[in-house]
């Protein structure tokens, strides 16, 4: 059960944070932000550790581009799991799922992966808007709606 989706810019500024405030009061906007914010450390670390290995030799530079955008589980808490995804332009997509899904089954990695890919596509659509300035917060209601859809249906 996805609870929150965040789009974070190159400079680690929040571009979009959307969540479904479904149950408890702790699920409010602020706690979501805390979660995503603290995930940034791990995310950045992964990016920096991924880079020297790749750029160490010239032959592996090509691999950098083909690197999997999906970063996997960043960290987990008692209640949430946080997954990361980085586009080639260093836009970070973060998906927060609750650790205990109501159905009892755990969320599979592949599901998260596809969800994040779809999210990437949605993001790409959203910034295709000629009136959107890169680096600005995403305010598109359509994007918001679609993201919420993903969160509700997919995962």
């Amino acid at each position: 059960m996805a609870v929150c989706v965040a789009v974070i810019g190159k400079d680690n500024s929040p571009l979009y944070i959307g969540g479904i405030g479904n149950d408890t009061s702790s699920d409010n906007e602020l706690s979501r932000q805390w979660l995503v914010h603290t995930a940034l450390d791990a995310l950045e670390e992964r990016l920096t550790t991924a880079n020297p290995n790749n750029s160490g030799t010239n032959t592996t530079t090509a691999r950098t581009d083909l690197r999997d955008l999906y970063l996997g589980l960043l960290f987990s808490t008692d209640t949430h799991k946080i997954y990361g995804y980085v586009t080639n332009t260093r836009i970070k997509l973060v998906l927060v799922t609750s650790s205990t899904s109501p159905s009892g089954s755990n969320i599979r990695d592949a599901e998260v992966r596809t969800a994040l890919r779809r999210l990437h596509a949605l993001y790409a659509d959203a910034i295709c808007n000629p009136f959107h300035l890169p680096g600005d917060q995403i305010t598109s209601p359509k994007f918001d709606k679609q993201v919420k859809n993903i969160m509700l249906n997919n995962v």
Partner: protein, 1332 residues
Amino acid sequence: MRSSVSYILSHAPGESVMSHPDYGQHAQHHACLLVLVKGIGGMLKNFNKLWERIQRINTIKVTDSAGQVRDIWVRYVRDYPVENNDWGDFQTHRRLLGLITLSKFTNQVELNEVCRVHESLKVKYSNTLYDSRAFMFGPISNMKKPEQEPETYSIFEGEKTIKQECNISEKASIPSEHMDSLSSSESFPRSTSSTTSYTQEENFTTPSNFKTHAMFYGENDPVPDLEQNVADLINSLFWVVESKRLERSREKLEKVSLLLAPFEKKDFVGLDMESRNNKKRCMGRVTTNLADLTLQAGLVADSLNLYHSAAEILKSVNDWLWLAAAKEGLCASSAILLYPNLRNSTPLQRNASLQESSPSKSKPLSLFQPTDPFRKFKLNSSPLRNSKTSSPINPPSELTPTSSESIDTSSRQSETDNGDTESLASSSDIEYQSPKSYLSTELPSIPRQPPSQITNQYLLNGEEIAEKYRKAIIHYSKYQNAGIIETEACFKAARIAVEQNNSLHASSFLQNVIFINLTLSEQEKIQRFDTLAELYKDIGFLRKAAFCQRLAATRQVSPNNPNPDWQRCYYLMLHSFPGHKLSLDPNYVVQHQVGWPALQIQLLQELVVAARRMGHPALATRHMTFLLQTMWPHLTKQEHRDLAIQLQALSAQCEGGPVPLVLETGEVIPPANLSHVPNCSWFTPRPLPPARAPHLVKSKAHHGPFIFTPIHFGSLERNAKKQEGKMEYLWVEGDICEVQMKLTNPLPFELKVSNMRLLTSGVVFESIPETIILPPDSPTTVNLHGTPKEIGELQILGYSTHTLGVKSNCRLKNMPMPNKFPASFTVEVIPSLPTIAIETTVTPSGNGGLSTETVGSTTNVTLYNGESTDCTIKITNTNSVPIEYLDLAIQSNIDTALQSKIFQFSNEDIQSQLPIAPDQTATITIKLYGEADFLDLGGVGGENLFPNSLTSNYPSRVGSPVPNAQTSLPTQSSNPQNSLSSGLMPHRTSGSFRSTNSYATSWSAPISVMPPSRGRQIESQLILRYSGGEGKDVHCRQSTLQINLELLPSVSITHWDVLPAEIASQLYLVLDVTNLTSEEMDFHYAPNKHILIESKESCRVPVPLDRCPFSNTNVKSDDDTTDSKSISTGTSTNSLELMCSEHITNNTDLRWNLVHSDISGRASVKGITLSQTMMDIVRMSPLNWEVSINSQCIKPQEEFNCTAGECLSLGVAVWNHLSRPLHKLCLSVQFYQDYNNGVFSYKLDNRVATAGNNKVVLTTLRESAKAYHECTVVFLTPGEYKIDIQCSTTEPILEDSTVLKEPEQPSIIQPCASEISHVWRFIPPVAISVID
């Protein structure tokens, strides 16, 4: 990481659950001897210093029985829970082995108490304690302790033997000792007897049961042998450990007893202890124990071996807990070998120079650090990082640690060993060593130990350590009771990962900590978060660290916490600033705008609450101001309002000021200034008002012909222009100056901003505080004033406000983004200049007819043309600087010549009044005269209307109106010319100037038709430039006085003519004067002659005038005439006309007086134009006649009577008034009869007989000479006769003088026009009536 089969083997919370996690543990502490350092008794002043000194002795070298030197490491703790001691069997480094007390006493009682506490501490840890030391600090007097020394020493000796015993008997004797000490602690006085020679005050004795090696010092003694004593203790501890190790190693593996972790005791009840499985279990556990001891005893390499074999054994029996312990031990010893600086850095943490060499300990994060500390951290990472990255390249077959890593280690190792030996040499040595040889140097602590392959084959490399630790933690996690061990293991693993610079590993270990379910006290939970934060910080996970810190902070004050500590909560939150990308400096935050605003706002709000609850309202106000200032763009309107109200409430307790606050920790909270409330959208210094603005005394010379050019030549000039914020105008010292700003109140309620001032630097500036109340959301213009007190450059940096209870210094350079201001405005301040007050009075010449109005600096004056008045200007110096320079200039819309006639003032008079002292007054009088052209040429042509003709420029007047006048004048003058030849003669009657004849011909147009003159408006500015004081040579002030002068028409001369008067030397100027005023006018045209003219009426007045004196004018116009000799006659005529016109103008004195309003003025005929004929009349004749009959002089208009036949003698005398002689002058006398009908009869042959020539030719008549001719005439018949006497010259006329005609000669007869060019006649002709 956690085992999925978690808690399978866990048991119900046992009796001795280790419940006090030690978050500070490192992996290297496995190899340390644990020593408790405790201060007892009174508080020692230098306890911390001593504690540091003790800590520094973290390792000593001991030569063992085999002659090998071993490094023994010690860990000192300040406090150690006894429960943890119980785990000593499980991991021997958890045993407390030594005790050091630092105590203070002042008298015997206290000493006894101190001794008692020391002993009881010994009892407390009696299970594990091997040795103790007591450092006693007494009053300074009993420093020398001659007697006690041997005594205590003997005790020590005794204790030592006891200890040896107890070592052998292993703790068995200690309980007895403990009993002993307990019982004897009450019976201390016994020992006093032993010290007999000293009094009680001077000598203290320890109780007899105090069996510790005690050292006595004065309280302020330097304690030189502290290190030695501590080393002594460690030495003794080592030997115990070593003996234990040996003992353990000699044990027969088959017979060993089962070692138990505290909670395991129940589990093995009833189990078959003799089973093979259990035997193995025992063996494994004992081996682990032995490995622990070996590690502690300094034989790290051996311990590796042992740990490995222990792990093998334990693995086979599935003893997971102990397996985990063995693995952890393996990891720890590997880590100790791999990362020796892990050991070094920790105790020497306080040494700043070494701090940099240990990258794992990143500097305490500065809150002001502008750059991302995370990146920085990465940059100066340790060489290990390089080695780590390069390690995968090395062949994996290599058993030993890979090259670079081990070189690093060994070189470091050798450094630590040899102390001062050249590290360069050793490292270069190592470089050329074979892998085998440097393996020996790798373990320098046991140099003579043969390098064994076996030892090193168990040495784990970096990756393996992490892996093994991971496994160990998983094993631990299977036991609920081992939660603390697991937690500690996690931290230890994380620290190793930090050392390896593997942040992800570290974070995963740390992450695991969260999942360990422990029943901890609130304080310990906080500590856990704190340690987590610390480690997260170390790996650069600042956000994570901040998150943990915030959690810790909230825990501090959570309702579950029995004793909330707001202060610590506050500091935790404050230290989480870097993680939130916040800086304490608001300007930095405003400029960079990084981080997540929502979180920052939340944090700041919590911080405000914490600061308030902490009881530091100043901080709360500061942080709230900070919040409002930095997060302004991210807050909603409602939030703005709420926060502003909150701020107001906070500042009511403690006003916020723009000063840095210093916290107890030494951190400085820089001031936060509210520049959003109110928001300033416009800020600019204003030039002084024009009246006070300084001007340059000498205006700058212009460089080019252009007033403005966009092209700037020369780069220098261009650079000078670039200076931003440099004002082009000047401010004056001691003068009130102004800065204009536009403020907006963004809050929805009325905002009071008080004490607004300007912030300046440079010269001293006195700012005048201003208080304003701003309505919501409407821009208000505010002027701030101040006075510069010095000369020089003044920089205006911003303004200060006091609003919402917060004082702010809003500097322009820190202004929020949308408004771009220069960093400062620079204004030059010049020395003070005087100021003046001007008062203008106009003395009215009449009553009511003239109106004077002074509106501000504008004076309105109404004058009739020709009227004059005085305008008095009073200048008062209102400043303290004397006026030393004063200059008056007039600017107006009229040309300068006319202007100087209208405004007349004396410059000398002004200068004579200088200087004007402060508060003194000077008076300047300006005479105003209604200069005008009274001649109304209206009807002649448009160009001659008044506005043009008022110009007194004569040449232009001659130039333009005269050609017209020549067309018009003939109508005036040719008529009389014609009429004179025929009709003027008969009207000889005196005073018949108004003869209809002349009237009709000369003034053809009716006067009433003439357009009346209009009033004129003259706008003029009186410019007063004044200066004084220091800068009078450069700058001055300028005051402008506006004088609006309205000139009303008074009289107008519409037509004029000249008539010869009765006397030859005089003439009449006949003027048509029109009264253009609305009042009756008394017009004076000659002395004693005046006429009353009704309003709008016109009158003709004759003005008697002397003729233009010939010689006089000749002399006067000599220059003109000589000049114009060669010029055409026309020009010379004009110059003559000018002469005549001037003569007339100067000699007429026309004055008028308005009867009703008693206003008087003058009029003039300036610029009068004269025709040729008129000029002849005006001019005096060049020849003067004297005609006499019978020697009787004939008067003009006089009739001479005689009888027929009477002989009359006619004498004619001629004077030459010309300046030159006349030649070939023909003087003729002719008789004729006038029939009075225009017919003259010259045929008088039979009526008149003459004797003598009636025509003589004078060859030369000299100037001023007189010629006389006489003839005799006899009238034969009675009748009326007339004599025409004339003089003619045949000489070619020499321009001007000869051109002059005899005005009285009607020049009808012009014989031989070529020859005789001039004829002078004696007029009127002499009339003789002859009777019988």
